[in-house]
């Protein structure tokens, strides 16, 4: 059992593991994921490159762990939101979108890295797809309910609509946080996205409530 309150001669495995994670998120804040080498991460965590491989199989595995934490955080944040689409549809959508924006704003480095890694790594792709799909499923359910009570207007299938809107959010936020051209400012992002969601779902700015 490792000594408690007294420094052991070597940091424990868990300390090393989390040093790698936090160093990576830290380095990620200033450089792109593709530009940082495992050497950089290892150096930042105070270990040699081969030792890095004792903890993670690759750079992508580290990102996977970071991404997992972010996704879990989004889930919690969105779940703990007070929403009542019947009473206040516009506000409910806006608060949900706002929650996403907040979390991705806080972890923009991880989000940006995911965007690049997803394109070449199947596991990252899968993890991200699963989340996107679950958000799309949730939106689809709400839209279907809104259609049933006559608030939303018919048109494209609820699922196509919700997929397109979720993908829009992903791309717009990635542009905003990445400072791309063209992009919309962080201040305008939530209201612009919410307006598009609401008009697309209800065909109006003032849905029935």
């Amino acid at each position: 059992m490792p000594a408690r309150g007294r420094r052991t001669t070597r940091p424990s495995g868990d300390e090393r593991q989390s040093a790698i994670l936090s160093t990576t998120e830290h380095i990620l804040a200033e450089g792109s994921f593709d530009d940082i080498s495992i050497e950089d991460i290892a150096a930042g965590a105070g270990i040699s490159r081969p030792t890095f491989y004792f903890y993670f199989a690759s750079k992508d595995e580290v990102l996977l762990a970071l991404l997992d934490r972010v996704i879990t955080e989004v889930e919690h944040r969105v779940q703990s939101l007070s929403r009542d689409f019947e009473a206040d549809p516009a506000g409910s959508w806006q608060r949900s979108i706002g929650a996403f924006v907040e979390v991705f704003s806080e972890h923009r480095a991880v989000a940006a890295a995911t965007t690049t890694a997803r394109l070449r790594n199947a596991e990252v792709q899968t993890l991200w797809s699963r989340s996107l799909q679950s958000w799309a499923d949730y939106s689809t359910d709400v839209i279907t309910q809104e259609l049933a009570r006559g608030a939303a207007i018919p048109g494209p299938s609820a699922s196509d609509l919700s997929i397109a809107l979720n993908l829009m959010n992903e791309r717009v936020l990635s542009a905003t946080f990445g400072g791309d051209t063209p992009s919309i400012t962080e201040a305008d992002a939530v209201s612009t996205l919410s307006t598009i969601w609401i008009r697309s779902i209800y065909g109006s700015d003032l849905p029935l409530h």
Copy 2:
């Protein structure tokens, strides 16, 4: 001057250059841009790797040339479209979006490669940004006119709205052509996107005309 109608002992420089371009687009159709090496391209074009560097400074330069051709094609296609937003706003938007979908559908390999290369290569980023910006500028102008004649409804700035919608198209089409999960089918893409554009701009499915 090179012989005409008679084969010279070596293919000319121009032939090599275009062999590199077409080979690259061809190889790109089955593998991702990141996975193909300069060796692959050179072999496909019947030259050695160093000789490749005589024609292009890097793999990315090849993509840049391919992308340039695709962007030019989109421009031509969209310009030659008959549009009259006052007479038929919904149809005009739908035809414009349809033109994009067609071109990117034909050159999906180049579009996919651009998506990945943009993230690490500044020149690709710039070229793509410029096009995106010019399409967004065009949409902004039309939305502004539609607002002036009282057909579009006020809300987010015309430019924020148009940037968000253009980015949505980019992401949704990339998912569709890449067969991502979640994504919408190629058959449903144009109608879903058009509906979102029209409802977001006019606040209704049947804009004034």
